[in-house]
Amino acid sequence: MRRARTLGLRLRSLFRSIRVDHELDAELRFHLDQQIERNIAAGMTPANARAAALREFGGVDQIKEACRDERRVTILDHLVRDLRYALRVLRREPGFSVVAIATIALGIGVTTAMFAIVRGVLLKPLPYRDPDRLAMVYSVITQGPFRCRDCSVSDAAYFELKRSRTFSELAAFGTQISTLTGAGDPLRVHHSAVTANMLPLLGVRPAIGQGFAPGDDTTGRSHVALVSDRLWRSHFGAEPAILGQPIRLNGEAYTVVGVMPAGFSFPNERRILMAPDVWTPLVLDPAYDANAMRRVVGRLAPGATAAAAAGELESLLESPIGGHLRDRAIGGKMRVEGLKTALVGDVERLLWILAGAVGCILLVACANVANLLLARGAGRRRELALRAALGASRLRLVQQMLTETLVLAIAGGVAALFIARWNVALALALVPENKLPRTPEIALDATGFAFTALLCLATALVIGAIPAITGAHVDVNEPLQEGSDRSTAPGVARVRSVLVVAEIAVVLVLLTAAGLLVKSFWRLHRVDPGFNADGVVTIQIELPERVYRTIEQRKALGDQVLRRLRAVPGGEHASVINLLPFGDMGWAGDFEIEGGAAPRDLIVGKPAISDDYFRALGIRLLRGRYFERRDGDGAPRVAIVSDIVARRCWPGADPIGRRLTMDSSHPDSWLTVVGVVADVRPSNLGKPPQPMIYVPIQQEWRPFFLANMAFLVRAVGSRDLVADGLRRAVHEADGDLPLSNVAMLAQLLAQSVSEPRFRASLFVTFACLALALACVGIAGLVAYDVTRRTREIGIRLALGARPRDVVGMVMKRSAGLIATGVAIGLAMAFALSRLLADFLFDVKPDDPATFAMVALSIAAAAAVAAFVPARRATRIQPVIALRYE
């Protein structure tokens, strides 16, 4: 309290300035001097004249104080006085103040945190020069049933595109995970190869050292590298002398030529959300068009639009020079998308929905506090009437009550900053890895604080306005008369009811969203992937092209690891596959069958596996046989198809012995089907099972398809021991292989649904928070109702009403409010749940079961919240109640 008072004094001296006091001094001194002069003129000695003047003048200080008092009637003085008064009032009712402040803090806290996230991810401009002109260039591929809207382009196509005039500059990049050695412990790093013009295009310069020289990406001999600020700090000890230091990436030697600024994380776009730690020059071959592996970013020329640019790029690929490209053959459509959209487009919708949800929480919090204030305002009518009688204008009363809510809101806002900080940290910790772009740019900075401050003011206005206006509307006489009815004006009661109805409706909307997402996640979680991941330990490795050039070398490595793996105690069915289900890589393509056309819409996964793979994953054999040792290199080529392929290609017929090929250009690539296995979902539980054609890894003849391998083994004993054995088996086979992580397959499976799980848990948290707030609000309303009607209830009890009747009477009103709230909420939820459609799996946005369940649980929770205070009514002692006034 004392602190508040000194604060007030300081404020006053600050604003009302010393100048006024100074002028006052001068003014009074002038008066005194005039009087003295006159006295002298009348014949007094100067000393006498002065004494007489002073005597007549009276106490100078009293006059000054009186003058100051007259001046003190300023808005600021009102404010200071109101603040002091508000603090006194709030301190008098600590319970009320704590609940109100905590509620506001919660509402503002989550809103501020959400603002920081939305701002960092969606609103801030990208940290590049003139970022609105930057755009990603995608190739749109439609080849048979295969469709891809954001595909890469080939090296050759990139050089064709570079002739563009609508783009003032284009740059290409690729990303991979590499093993960094030569500085401390070996480390897996996100590694991006970029053309030398990339950094100038973005308008970013290294913080230390230099970027790539223009020729670095053409000769292929400049083995230079840039490292991220993060890597520089964590791995190089933030040593400024890093320039010129040699490092090795996947065994190749590079020289560090610069450190990028902190937070620089390009390339990152929808496909790549991991911030790179190392950049090296990308060396391109203008004649290479066999594979489309390059992603392209460009800066639009002044005046050029994305649509015009896409058209121009297509015409470039169509021109005589570009016409022969394979890129052209497989679709040739180009798509240009603003870099920011490319980066955050996927999460934009969800983030806005979440922001809306958080806004709902803030609204519920505001409604709650407003309700509390209204309830309290009713108890203060006498005080307000007294003040009005003493001459306070209505405006002054409103002002004073707004000051009170402002104090509450500011206290809540300060607490909210801590909650927000904690919330942001929590969100960043819980958000699934590499699912949320631009996380480094999320921060609670000055703008965040400003937002909080604004929110405090808005909150104070919203929650203060209703009680202040209804409360200030007092009849001076009525509440002052002893024994008059203390009930609130009917208007206030109505406002409070509306607030509670609104709270219930908003909570119902949130809870419906949570219910739908939970149900969706539950269904997704329960989807059978078609294999048994429990206890399966895996390791994924990438074979460096430099070391493993031929297919024989690759197969040999696979054999060596497998041989060691089979000896690991506690493991069984050791096997290898090139494309692990729910792993890092996935390939799909078309195929042909002998004596007829394969269904054109059938895109199949084409994994190469060792013979024990199906047993390791428990994938059932439906017909024929699994692969065996005899299906080796040189033996007749065989394939096992999944159920869908069998049914679609040879409906009603026996697929065993049929022939198919996945590369009809090679005459000896025909495979004979020897078995049919159950369908699996190898990458997305939310999608239908993927048709599969499995081939024995020993019969794979294209080195490219064995660039990645995953070894897996089913642990029957200790998983840790098996994991250790797996790691050792790979290391013993080739100690120089890039590092890779051992993972449980079940874990990879769970990671694939981490996003839906995160969404569902987020909404459940929000909804529970709002529900708790609303319940407090309802309980408060009923409790107040009971207090207000103490006398009436006492009379009823005295006249013989049973406690049950009293509870029923009190509850009846709440029941009406709850029903209204639920009805309105259902209508709102019905209208809004469609926004969630994209995020739902196997659940309709208007799922009746969810709606019914949510409505019932809210009604139940609200009824309980109302019942607790209602029961108190039965304990009213008639005698005391009648004396209550």
Binding site: E23, A26, L28, F30, H31, A66
Partner: protein, 109 residues
């Protein structure tokens, strides 16, 4: 010097407004002028005068400005604002009504 008559609460404001209506004056001059015009009947204490002046200034009825006095000293001069003039007219009219009524009661009752 006879005992100065106490001023009715509120009348001081009216008197001040009236006195500064002709020309801007400083506090000293206002007190002197009041004495002079009222034939030495109305004396105002500094303890009332200055707070009243500051109150009137705060209400926007008079303007205060620093100027030079007759004897070349800086003094704070008060002048009537437009709002002050309006107020003066109202107050003067109501005073006239009141005093006339009182006189009538005293003379005729």
């Amino acid at each position: 010097m006879s005992k100065p008559t106490d001023l009715v609460q509120g009348t001081l404001d009216l008197l001040i407004l009236r006195i500064v209506a002709n020309q801007p004056l400083h506090g000293w001059a206002i007190s002197q002028r009041l004495r002079l015009v009222s034939n030495d009947v109305l004396h105002v204490q500094q303890g009332s005068l200055y707070p009243a002046l500051h109150r009137l200034e705060q209400q926007g009825l008079v303007n205060a400005e620093w100027g030079e006095s007759e004897n070349k000293r800086k003094a704070k001069y008060y002048a009537l604002t437009r709002a002050g003039r309006r107020r003066l007219e109202e107050e003067a009219a109501s005073w006239a009504r009141l005093s006339a009524a009182i006189s009538r009661v005293i003379e005729t009752a």
